[in-house]
Symmetry: C2
Subunit: 289 residues, 2 copies
């Protein structure tokens, strides 16, 4: 099958057009009309034998590859709109492999209102390699990692741990509407998504905000079948990690429960001034090891 | 060396900030301020054993990886501004490999006024894999592939052929200022960049514009040491292919020479109505073969 014929089949699985599209996929570049001038950008790679294995369902792999950067948008309370998708696949791939992968991308794009404006199909020398660039608009406020304040409570959405062994890492739901809602609430000071695990990600808030922290391990919510150590170190949870002004916490807790009755929001520690010693954590995930 | 220490060294090689940056690299997403609401987007992958070999200079590889999407911006007369860079490298890589690659990215970014707003360093199971997403603004007009008109002259910048064997494919200069200038001229109807070669790319204008074409092979400008067949089929020239209203051609030719005395602009054929037979061409490049 020729590349152009395959591409036409793949395109049928993907949302390619809406009112924002001036030039969609198929020309040298895409051109889109933004509603405002603040542009949010993120790229995330999804790599065989790092983020999935050859045994995983390709539709799940496509879902994950698009949901990874969506989770970063969630962490800023931002609005993802347009995606560019790069797929480098082994030359052994058949039409059905491509279509399965495209269905996963299409499902995620439809679920979260994202238009695919371009991308590339290439040969991979060996393993499947996916890269997604996502652009969109800032929400009414932008939540950063660098703005945690001493005495803030450290909170986490959902439960942590065991994402790889349970295959949740392939089917997770990015906390987009939750992150967008949190960005509208008074008293949320800092936020990020938990992709590498608390052991890696909490020190990133510590470093960016120039603070220390106490982690109350017994409060960490973990999935059945996991240990608290796995909840701290496993990563790939794609839950939100945030810091909250303590006087706003009772109100946020109540409002959260009203808006998201099926997802927990749990206080697991506290931000301290920088001259304190932070709770010891195991070494974090290193992407290059 | 830890990932974070290496990243700090790499960052020194790259332009990371200008007046447009609200949140630069280091948080979940980047946030930039656009000057206008028309956003241009492109992604291009650069893959070992497809676009370069392990023997090539990594600084040249970084240059090429960023210049590939810049060439697409050139083809639309658009203004590239912000890049996201993904690098998946073999675990055998040392600090010096990363820094050499970063210097190539940095040189291209400085040359063309691009700020690096984020990206990712990852392990590759085997081969080096680079993906660059580039965003920016539309110029005063946007040149497409789909707007060629019958009787337009088909023109090409520079010379074609032999890009791989001469290593020009690693050190080419994207025709950014030329493309931006052409987009301001009356009578330029369609434009694209020549990345896959005339044999692949001219039929893309034919298809998008619903037209046919005559190619005058004896007029195709080729590099010394190449045949005209190589100029048609080799690809990786990153010159501009454009169609020009015949009555505007004398004026454009004169103005071009005044603006770009060191680069040729050559007429190599003509657009015909769709009911004509196009000049036969060898099979084009297929990215999946």
């Amino acid at each position: 099958m020729r590349e152009d014929d395959l591409l036409n089949l793949i395109r049928k699985e993907l949302p390619l057009d809406d009112a924002s599209i001036i030039v969609g996929s198929g020309d040298d570049c895409a051109v889109v009309q933004m509603e405002q001038k603040n542009l949010v950008l993120k790229t995330d790679a999804t790599i065989e034998d790092v983020h999935f294995t050859a045994q995983d369902d390709l539709s799940d792999v496509g879902w994950k590859a698009l949901c990874r950067p969506i989770s970063d948008f969630a962490a800023m309370g931002a609005i993802p709109q347009h995606a560019l998708i790069t797929v480098a696949a082994p030359s052994s791939w058949q039409q059905e492999n491509w279509l399965q992968l495209a269905r996963g991308f299409g499902k995620a794009a439809h679920t979260f209102g994202i238009i695919i404006v371009g991308g590339e199909m290439a040969r991979s020398p060996r393993k499947l390699f996916l890269s997604v660039a996502l652009t969109g608009s800032a929400g009414p406020s932008i939540l950063l990692r660098s703005t945690a304040q001493p005495n803030d409570l450290i909170c986490v959405t959902g439960k942590l741990g065991g994402s790889f062994k349970s295959k949740r890492h392939l089917t997770f739901t990015p906390r987009l509407k939750e992150g967008q809602w949190l960005a509208t609430q008074a008293g949320i000071h800092a936020m990020m998504d938990l992709s590498d695990g608390l052991a890696s990600d909490l020190p990133r808030i510590e470093c960016a905000s120039n603070c220390s922290f106490i982690l109350e391990k017994e409060k960490i919510p973990y999935h059945p079948g996991c240990s608290v150590e796995e909840a701290i170190s496993d990563g790939e949870d794609y839950e939100l990690l945030l810091t909250v002004a303590p006087d706003q916490w009772p109100n946020i807790q109540k409002e959260w429960h009203d808006h998201f009755p099926n997802l927990s929001l749990t206080c697991i520690g506290k931000i301290l001034p920088p001259d304190h010693a932070s709770s010891p954590l195991p070494p974090g995930f290193d992407h290059l090891k």
